[in-house]
Amino acid sequence: MNGILMDIKRMAVHDGPGLRTTLFLKGCPLSCIWCHNPEGQDMKPQIAWFSHKCVSCDLCTRACPFQGARDMKDRDKCIVCGKCVSACPTGARKLYGREITPEEALAIALEDRVFYGTVGGITLSGGEPLMQPDFALKVLEDAKKAGITTCLDTCGYAPWGVFEKTLDICDTYLYDIKHMDDAMHTALTGKGNAFILSNLKKLSERGARIQIRIPLIPNINDSPEHIAHVAKFLKSVHPECVKVLPYHQMARMKYLALGLADPLPESADDLTKRAERAKDQLITAGLKAYI
């Protein structure tokens, strides 16, 4: 029941209530074109090479069993042993994905326990944390037993049966809404939205505490018509709040570092204005929205 951990963020302020430790799990059923955590899509561990941090010391190459580590031109040969990452003195190489036991995951979260107060705790994010359901459920369950609050940052694409099991062990759901049109959703993320919206409805019906997140992508899902559609739906699921996430392209470097094609959509000059407009529209619709 071990999990594949992608990354850890301590002192996370925007991943649920209070101060939290966020564990990012690897693997995601969606492949959103604006994904800002591309290292979270594939369940398998990956090595990234951030060329701007590289000082060409070649310690990685010497550590690599195939002697080809430095510029990662021949990724097919890479067995993701991580030796080049350990050897790198500048942090130019990063291993995304390592096996971790639920006990280790809990221990990481508990390190900062004193900072949580009564509201902070652990957040499972990704990727999609419920792609590793057994592991995620175990960590949430253990965290609850340990007396810290739990959050799931989810795209919503998981079997209801899994969601149902989280109801008693997840305090807050950070739930993404990307597009209300099923065909558009499929085109943008690789999967339709019916499953996602239905899970959200059911969670709401079961009284879950839900915070909605809308990644606002210019000219893709930020039109007033679409936001009106989102607002109408959200009114029926009674979220605690709706957070508008303005678009950014900071992940571009990560795509490059992972040797992946960069699918990021075009940005716009007036991102803040667009986010403000969407937020205001949601507030006007009676939702508690913020950026």
Binding site: R10, V13, G18, L59, P89, V114, F115, G117
Partner: protein
């Protein structure tokens, strides 16, 4: 118009950089004043110094700025500290000091332990750090202080010559101060037509000439005059304006009730009051404190605290640092206000944990300490108000002891032999051997620094007599001795994080894993890693460093602190007090870093070492929470004088209301874990880089250097680069 003028007047408020003394008011020429002062004769330094100050106050030209509520000036004062201080009174202090040291055998140790010689530390006779008893100043005024001094003198049946000189010096000094206020009032009267506020200034100065202040404006004027005279005429640094929201609160309430001033008017008064300290350009900022707990055990944050914070916020000042006394009863709302200011990039706050302050003071001084008795001093140091204070005579560079252990007591950069002759590294067979050499070097450095402290403590009253500062203290006036002849002696420990890392790396890579021989490591250090780049990278990138909440490296740091406390704290000093070990670097992590060689943690020669209780720069890889958890392993109740932790957060981590919640939560947790003081910045490395390129666009961007803020654009590139590196690490 009397009010709503601060921002219009602002450009005319700098009396110090552009003085404008009316020639008819007295001696203007600096050299003429210095020559006159040099001719002053007297039985002892006390008398000579008091007469010299009196000459300046009674005969040098003066200024009262009509554009300001508070600004006063006198020619012949020492220049602002930023530009050095080498004339008038300071020439006397220099002479008194050289009389004591010339030909004294201590000279050799003073040289060996000086920063410029071999970087083993830094020292100076700290006859400058003190905080007046502000309650006495405000309740008595100068006439009342003079009367009290006479009363104390008359209580003695017999007086020694030293006591006679001391009381005489107080009499001369306070009389001169009162005369100075009269001269200011006369000049204000002459200028009464120049501004609508001048009649009020005249009234205020006339009132202070004859007694204690009667309203908040008079109280603030007296505080400013006292700070100005202490700092620039008497040449003692007034190291806090006191717990200003408590001191001035009764005046504030009274004035509001009787309609003398409105809240907004008091706010404006504070803007004029604070900006003077900005113009003084004190390199280490002018401290003041707020908050804490009152005599009834309730929070001492009050309506005046709010006014003060609003004034400070609106004026956007850099050169005033606010010690915020935080306890469990401190309201979130007031913390929120300050965190928001830090997040906006200015606001020089250090959050001091009063629970620790109380326990630490009780342990240090063996007396019961109530929360309202706590005061602060200097950068971020607790003290007990109106009680003998500490003087920081020396600072030990702990990292240097690592170097000396490698090179048998010889400093590798300068070639000077300053430490103990310890075992050559070739003979070291185990980590215990290295540790033994390190301990011997620490002993050697400590003993030399203690010797210096003893010397300085012995001459404190003779080098810079301070009758004005002393006149505020009952204990000083009762004994008939300068306040600087009382108090504890602090020895400051620098670079504890880097030193712990060095010990960790030597143990791990030389003796446990045998990755490198100790002789190779020594050669690499000597070569500043040239030809050993791979070794440097391995050591630098090793994550097992202090500040990441890891057991072993943190244990090295804690054990080192305990050993230093055992060596230093509790020893009797030469002033009837004791030695106290304290843990901060001020800005010496940069300055002493420049004279420190390469070290086994992978640090290059001449680069800064760790600051305060923090990890070495760039080594706190697990973030702020881990840094705080590491720092919480120290027993800060044994560090009464100071053990601050600095934070740097990226703006993204503090965004929104939840960002402010997080900052408050971090502070509360830090306090609950026993942290002593927390201070820091919210900075984006990209913004800092832009400011480096375009300083003209970022004039108000502040960063926290140590116990004080500096404008980023005024710093050297070396300092700027260190901040950029820190900011990059917290993305």
């Amino acid at each position: 118009m009397l009010w709503n003028r601060f921002h219009k007047d602002r450009e005319f408020l700098d009396l110090y950089e552009n003085p404008n003394f009316p020639p008819e008011t007295g001696v203007i020429d600096k050299d003429e004043a210095s020559k006159a002062v040099a001719k002053i004769q007297g039985r002892s330094p006390d008398i000579i110094k008091a007469k010299a100050c009196a000459f300046v106050l009674e005969h040098c030209a003066i200024d009262v700025n009509p554009k300001c509520w508070f600004g006063v000036n006198v020619a012949g004062r020492v220049p602002s500290l930023k530009y050095g201080a080498n004339n008038t009174i300071n020439q006397l202090i220099g002479k008194f000091f050289s009389d004591q040291t010339k030909g004294n055998p201590i000279e050799k140790t003073l040289t060996a332990m000086s920063e410029s010689y071999a970087g083993a530390g830094a020292h100076f006779p700290d006859h400058v750090h003190y905080v007046p008893d502000w309650d006495a100043v405000l309740h008595l005024g100068y006439p009342g202080l003079l009367k009290r001094a006479r009363d104390y003198r008359n209580k003695h049946d017999t007086l020694t010559n030293e006591q006679i000189d001391f009381y005489d010096s107080v009499e001369i000094m306070l009389t001169a101060c009162i005369r100075f206020i009269s001269r200011l009032a006369d000049l204000a009267e002459e200028r009464i037509q120049e501004d609508p506020r001048m009649p009020l200034r005249v009234k205020c100065l006339r009132s202070l000439e004859s007694g204690a202040p009667k309203d908040i404006y008079e109280a603030m004027q007296l505080m400013h005059i006292h700070q100005f005279l202490g700092q620039f005429v008497e040449c003692a640094q007034v190291r806090s304006l006191g717990d200003i929201d408590r001191l001035l609160y009764p005046y504030f309430l009274k004035d509001l009730y009787r309609g003398a001033y409105t809240r907004e008017q008091v706010k404006e008064l504070f803007q004029y009051f604070f900006i003077i300290y900005d113009f003084q350009k004190h390199s280490y900022n002018q401290p003041v404190s707020i908050g804490g707990t009152d005599i009834f055990g309730k929070t001492a944050f009050n309506e005046l605290t709010d006014v003060i914070l609003d004034a400070y916020d609106d004026a956007m000042l850099c050169n005033l640092k606010i010690h915020v006394f935080v306890g469990e009863n401190t309201p979130d709302a007031v913390l929120r206000k300050m965190m928001a200011m830090i997040r906006r990039g200015y606001g020089s706050f250090v959050f001091m944990n009063t629970d620790i302050g109380i326990k630490a003071m009780e342990k240090a001084y063996g007396i019961p300490v109530q929360p309202h008795m706590l005061g602060s001093q200097g950068c971020y140091n607790f003290n007990i108000k109106a009680y003998p204070q500490h003087s920081n005579q020396t600072r030990i560079n702990l990292v240097k002891a690592i170097e000396l252990a490698f090179f048998e007591g010889v400093d590798p950069l300068s070639g000077h032999e300053i430490g103990a002759k310890t075992m050559p590294v070739e003979n070291m067979k185990s980590f215990a051997d290295f540790k033994e050499a390190f301990e011997a070097q620490i002993d050697s450095l400590t003993n030399q620094h203690i010797e210096i402290c003893d010397f300085y403590d012995g001459i404190m009253g003779k080098v810079n007599p301070t009758p004005l500062m002393s006149s505020t203290f009952d204990f000083s006036m009762e004994a008939g001795k300068s306040c600087f002849e009382f108090g504890s002696t602090s020895v400051l420990m620098m670079g504890i994080g880097t030193t712990a890392d060095c010990l960790m790396m030597v143990k791990k890579h030389v003796f446990d894993q045998k990755d490198v021989s100790i002789t190779t490591l020594r050669d690499a250090l000597k070569a500043d890693w040239q030809g050993y780049e791979e070794l440097q990278r391995m050591l630098y990138s090793d994550p097992e460093k202090y500040g990441n909440n890891l057991d072993e490296p943190d244990r090295f740091a804690v054990e080192l602190s305990e050993n230093m406390i055992r060596r230093v704290t509790g020893r009797k000093n030469k002033r009837g007090g004791q030695f106290i070990c304290h843990f901060e670097t001020i800005d010496r992590c940069f300055r002493s870093g420049r004279v420190t060689g390469a070290t086994p943690d992978g640090k290059f020669a001449r680069k800064p070492f760790s600051k305060n209780l923090n990890a070495a720069f760039g080594q706190d890889r697990n973030g702020l929470t881990a840094m705080i958890l590491s720092a919480s392993k120290f027993d800060t109740t044994l560090m009464p004088i100071g053990a601050p932790v600095d934070f740097m957060l990226h703006p993204s981590a503090t965004k929104g209301e939840e960002g402010l919640d997080a900052m408050i939560q971090i502070l509360r947790t830090f306090n609950s874990l026993g942290g002593y003081a927390l201070q820091g910045n919210v900075l984006d490395a990209n913004v800092l880089r832009e400011a480096q390129k375009h300083p003209e666009l970022y004039k108000n961007l502040q960063v926290r250097v140590s116990g004080w803020n500096w404008n980023f654009v005024d710093m050297t590139k070396e300092y700027q680069d260190t901040f950029i590196m820190q900011a990059e690490a917290c993305v």
